[in-house]
């Protein structure tokens, strides 16, 4: 059951990335380019994706906060780490730099593998190497 739920959630999540346009790096870069507001070239779509996502997700998360157990069994695995430290901020800055360079964050990069493009495959491979490198360095 848990595996079926995971597959279903992956399908819905991927469909959301596709329909929202976030699977396209150019759409993401069009949002990150707030400097184009002046000449009317800015694309605020990503903010609407975040907004739509939050409107739907907030009730689920607030409801789950008061539960100890997930509906399919097992504990409600909400994060307990509240530390705001250098790792969190430096990690965010490095991630944001890579995101701004190409226009892919992890979700859209994985979903875009559906297009079978070499550039996407290389980006995902480099991303996996980056993840392993951080683990191996024991910085995380």
């Amino acid at each position: 059951m848990r595996i079926f739920v995971s597959l279903l959630c992956g399908l819905i999540f991927g469909a959301g990335l596709y329909i929202s346009g976030m699977i396209d790096p150019q759409k993401v870069l069009g949002f990150l380019d707030i400097w184009a507001i002046a000449d009317g070239g800015w694309d605020p779509s990503l903010a609407f994706v975040m907004g739509g996502g939050l409107i739907v997700a907030i009730p689920f998360f607030q409801f789950a906060k008061n539960r100890d157990e997930a509906l399919c069994g097992g504990k409600m695995g909400l994060p307990t780490n509240r530390k705001i430290d250098r790792k969190l901020i430096v990690g965010g800055l490095l991630f944001g730099a890579g995101w701004g360079l190409v226009g892919y964050c992890p979700g859209p990069a994985i979903s875009a593998l559906a297009f079978g493009q070499t550039d996407t495959i290389i980006f995902v491979a480099a991303m996996l190497v980056g993840m392993v490198a951080c683990r191996v360095s024991r910085l995380n």
Partner: protein
């Protein structure tokens, strides 16, 4: 703003929120893509039993969803990468390293974290959004052409 697509953005965003909400409520897990993918790379530590298969199923769905829409629906999409190869590699390395160091990405911190009103996730989201804005300022406006 000729590229602005508010309706499809809201609908797609809603689906992302729905998937994150169901995943938490039913499986008790955070739909953070960097975390799910990172957990498949081993050395995850506390994965037991079906956890690996759950992660794998999510990733398969994440690729199969768009693949299905691409083949069987009238909705078209592109995923255009315009960066030169060295930049693609550097970008991928930074995204992988940064999301692991910062324990999350746009989904884990941005959608899930903000939905539970986490200050830690808000700080992370401001960090990566800020870095994204500055990076695009540099590549598109200061040096151009990347």
């Amino acid at each position: 703003m000729e590229n602005f697509t508010p309706v499809s953005a809201l609908i797609g965003g809603g689906l992302i929120g729905l998937a994150s909400g169901i995943y938490l409520l039913l499986n008790g897990r955070i739909a953070g893509i960097s975390g799910i993918v990172g957990g498949l790379l081993g050395r995850g530590g506390n994965d037991t039993g079906s956890a690996t298969f759950e992660r794998l199923a999510f990733v398969i769905g994440l690729i199969a969803g768009p693949l299905f829409l691409l083949i069987a629906s009238p909705i078209t999409a592109t995923s255009l990468v315009t960066s030169p190869m060295p930049i693609i590699v550097i970008g991928g390395l930074l995204v992988g390293f940064g999301t692991t160091l910062g324990s999350g990405c746009t989904s884990g911190h941005g959608i899930c974290g903000l939905s539970r009103f986490s200050t830690r996730s808000l700080v992370a989201t401001v960090s990566f959004m800020g870095a994204g804005f500055v990076t695009v300022l540099v590549t598109r406006h200061l040096i151009g052409g990347l």
